[in-house]
Amino acid sequence: MNLSKILKNVLLVVLFGLIVTACATKKSVKTTTESTTTKAAETQSETQKADPIEKLDALMQGDVYIGSDTVGELASGVPDRVFFATNETILTTASRETLRKQAAWLRQNSDVTVVVEGHADERGTREYNLALGERRANAAKDYLMTYGVSSDRIKVLSYGKERPVDSGSNPLSWSKNRRSVTVKAN
């Protein structure tokens, strides 16, 4: 009896210890991941060193590209492009922020006209992608109009999947290619 009681206590202690260690391990792993992710987002050189999955976490949200590679400027401090999810034409929060910046700049520079180019990734049929690109460009155009840019200053031009910026055949490359780009036309 005594022996079994002692054994039981020992077992309980061991078990308890195991649980605590397990929790601690989990926690520490999680913390590491978080810190890596944050760092990766901060500097690009870091991102390149990080392993592929963490890199994707930093550069894509869902499957929308959120990095800065390939992004040019319509004007100083005004990014020229926004990105879309697969088969989607919905503007993300980040996209709307970018487009508001574009609209503000266009309101200040009322002589400028633009072409909004709509693009799709290579994972769709050519004709459907032409239509999808046109939709994306119009989603951006409509938003610019909502923020005070008159429609006669904005042309749309769909390229479908014909003009990728990234020639890779992987989810990250595709996410960079699903975009609309606002280009000065004059």
Binding site: N87, T89, V115, E122, R123, G124, T125, R126, E127, Y128, L130, A131, L132, E134, R135, A137, N138, A139, D142, L157, S158, Y159, E162, R163, P164, V165, D166, S167, G168, S169, S173
Partner: protein, 454 residues
């Protein structure tokens, strides 16, 4: 002009005996499990002919070249196995007169093709006469043949016409060799592709470039009722629009007066109408334009993407793809736009439906679990059959006899984004006999002509 191109002197040397069907016949509805051994003897010619041809075409042995055209066509069907010419025991001229059937049976040939080339001068112009005979070796008799006269430079077409005759005689199906393919020739890095319209014979010869590559061009398609006419989409002056081109005169005109992008054009079977998509204000609808009356009409009315329309061969229906259900799927409607019905219900997304010239099937592209398939289904959506799977492929186009589908395939690039290529491929309706279609450059968006007229 037309007469000069193809003066056909019709002589079907032998009456077509109905009994000859019994011996040599191929069932083309099953795979190419057992190709039929066939001998194509070099066509023979006399010395004067040889000299004239050398002068006109700079070809040493035209008879041999013609036999190679035929051999190549027939072998690519997967239904025939051409026996090496070194094995032939009989000389071409004697074989053409009257084969010693035992000699051909000895080398296991079931069918023999022989022929003769003769130069001719008509109205002081050079012509060639090509005669051909098709022999049933086991039945020990001639089963078909013809003779035709043409300008020397059309010699390959005669080879194709002979191939068509042989194919028709042995399979009971109409041929598809005297045809052309219009496609988009591609060059340069993936991010800056240069694209040109290109036209070639079905076997990859006689490539001609129709545009220079200064603007983006896409999706050329033959007029099924006129092999001298195509429609395509061009980004000329950054205005993506549908055009019609006359291949003989080079004349081209924009189709309709639309504010917005027009794309995805296809002719009606009689060539009198053109269906296409118009994208405007973020919405793509299908339109038809009557090319005789210039009246244009919107056929679909839905806030989703409606595109890639294709007529049924009787012109009564149109199949197209739409994402109105949330994803790209295939629909069929009457050609006036009424009675829209979804027909694809399998797993994955479906696009680029193209109605078979026979009317019973629709070829399509399917994307499922990250793979692209080319398949066929009945026009009510039943009987889906996937013919080929790959990383990326799309844009099926039917051979005029509805037995073969041509499409394009793109490769996956490596880690550095290198190694991209686009090529044309063909596959039999049976799912067998998948083949690379040779092109001078990278290629996409193929469209197969009808059998060429004269």
């Amino acid at each position: 002009m037309k007469k000069n191109l193809f003066l056909i002197i019709l002589f079907y040397v032998i009456l077509k005996p109905s009994i000859s069907f019994s011996l040599v016949e191929i069932d083309i509805t099953r795979g190419n499990l057992d190709p039929m051994p066939i001998s194509v003897s070099p066509f023979f010619s006399d010395k004067i002919t040889d000299e004239n041809i050398k002068k006109n075409l700079n070809i040493e042995n035209l008879g041999l070249e013609i036999s190679k055209v035929i051999e190549n066509n027939l072998e690519k069907t997967g239904l025939f196995d051409a026996i090496e010419k070194e094995a032939f025991l009989q000389k071409p001229d004697i074989a053409h007169l009257k084969p010693r059937f035992e000699d051909w049976a000895l080398i296991k040939s079931q069918v023999l093709i022989t022929g003769k080339v003769t130069s001719k001068i008509i109205n002081e112009k050079d012509y060639i006469n090509i005669e051909f005979k098709l022999w049933d070796v086991l039945g020990a008799k001639m089963v078909d043949g013809f003779s035709l006269t043409t300008t020397p430079r059309s010699w390959r077409r005669v080879g194709h016409k002979i191939s068509d005759k042989v194919y028709e005689r042995l399979t009971g199906e109409s041929g598809y060799f005297d045809t052309r393919i219009i496609y988009v020739a591609e060059e340069g890095p993936k991010t800056q592709r240069i694209k040109k319209l290109a036209l070639m014979d079905q076997d990859g010869f006689n490539t001609k470039y129709i545009t220079l590559g200064s603007e983006l061009v896409l999706t050329p398609r033959f007029n099924p009722a006129n092999d001298k006419e195509i429609t395509y989409m061009s980004y000329f002056r950054n205005m993506p629009r549908v055009y019609i081109v006359n291949l003989q005169t080079g004349e081209q005109k924009v189709v309709g007066d639309f504010r917005g992008m027009t794309f995805a054009p296809r002719f009606s079977p009689d060539g009198k109408k053109l269906i296409m998509s118009l994208a405007k204000d973020g919405n793509s609808e299908i339109w038809v334009r009557n090319l005789e009356t210039n009246i244009q009409e919107k056929l679909t009315d839905h806030p989703s993407i409606d595109t890639s329309p294709s007529y049924s061969p009787d012109g009564k229906f149109i199949t197209f793809n739409s994402d109105r259900s949330g994803y790209q799927q295939i629909y069929v409607m009457r050609s006036d736009g009424s009675k829209v019905k979804r027909i694809s219900f399998g797993k994955g997304i479906y696009g680029t439906p193209v109605w078979s010239p026979r009317g019973d099937l629709i070829a399509f592209t399917k994307l499922h679990k990250g793979k692209f398939f080319i398949g066929v289904m009945r026009t009510d959506g039943t009987g889906e059959r996937l013919l080929t799977e790959n990383f990326y492929q799309e844009a099926p186009s039917w051979s005029p006899n509805g037995r073969i589908i041509i499409f394009y395939r793109e490769t996956k690039t490596d880690d550095k984004g290198q190694g991209f290529s686009a090529k044309l491929w063909s596959i039999d309706l049976t799912g067998y006999n998948e083949r690379l279609v040779s092109t001078e450059t990278d290629a996409s968006d193929p469209s197969w002509s009808s059998l060429l007229g004269n």
